[in-house]
Symmetry: C2
Subunit: 196 residues, 2 copies
């Protein structure tokens, strides 16, 4: 209604999220996002340094969506081992359900993924779910329950994340049912590596 949109940035990011969902990072374009929000393209540049900065925000959304998916899958179980496995499986399922989102989630600066694991926990509030946080939490549960030994605990995030993330990348675009055994095989491998 008004000349000024009110909160353009979130609206643009939301539009970008939809674009990512449909066509992956490549189709996350400033112009198209602006178009969908009903605003001129340069307007976006009042809120984002450049396209990379915009995509980074969209990617953040994608990661949050992934985290939410993992959390709901995890919370369907009680035992730490089942919760762990459900978390990992959810990650891979996400690769099939939302290939565009997953691709976008980690393509921009892969450093995000690592940083998320390395130590960054302070940058995400309660309303900013983080996939790495979910993983770390469930690993802590396993540790607390004595399933993972104290000796094995350090670096467990990496082992789990690398396997699952790598598998998700490899399986992107393949047949879902054909991949099912592969998924279980890798999850078995992760468990064997961490406790087993």
């Amino acid at each position: 209604m008004s000349y000024h949109h009110g909160n353009l940035a979130p609206a643009l990011v939301a539009a970008g999220f939809t674009l990512a969902r449909q066509g992956g990072t490549a189709s996350v374009t400033v112009r198209e996002a602006a178009r969908r929000v009903g605003v001129s393209a340069p307007a976006a540049y009042r809120h984002f340094e450049d396209r990379d900065a915009f995509v980074a925000q969209v990617a953040r959304c994608c990661r949050q969506e992934l985290a939410r998916t993992m959390m709901t899958a995890r919370d369907r179980h009680r035992s730490p081992k089942r919760r762990f496995r459900a978390t990992g499986r959810a990650y891979i399922e996400f690769a099939f359900d939302e290939p565009g989102l997953l691709e976008c989630a980690f393509t921009p600066h892969q450093a995000h993924a690592w940083n998320a694991i390395a130590g960054a926990t302070e940058e995400c509030a309660a309303d900013d779910p983080d996939a790495a946080r979910v993983l770390i939490d469930v690993l802590d549960e396993l540790h607390a329950a004595g399933v993972i030994s104290t000796a094995q605990r350090p670096g467990a995030e990496l082992v789990a994340w690398a396997s699952v993330h790598g598998l998700a990348m490899l399986l992107a675009g393949t047949d879902r049912v054909a991949a099912a055994p592969a998924i279980e095989r890798v999850l078995d491998g992760v468990e064997a590596a961490l406790f087993g």
Copy 2:
């Protein structure tokens, strides 16, 4: 010298390879490759369906380069276990030495990676080294040596590849020496998963 270049396609791919090395997939552009070869942009379209097809070829080169790196690292050792570990480590090292090439190697259609593992071995000749082939071979050595049990052998490619590929993705752009322990940790995890 002549109006006709002679073998444009390979020249363009070589140029694309250099571009990938410097700036990753994003900077692999048909126009720039043509420019560097000293030819007009549309000329490239006599040899490649579209940009994706071109990038796919460049990616193939990148994968071959990776395979060569893995092979030379592997061949520095005799024992199957050491050869296996050297292969994996080389993959990760490649992520640090040639981030652009690694990104390009698997971004276009991740299906390549999976297909490479799934069954594709016939499409690569002796002069067309394949990273998946290298991995499979060294796993076969481990199996033959009795290090990997027959029960564990099936799907071992996936476990190894997913972990290492995922780790390489996660570590892209991080500090090399800081990441060293993480690398060993994940490699330990892979070994624990496959034989341990």
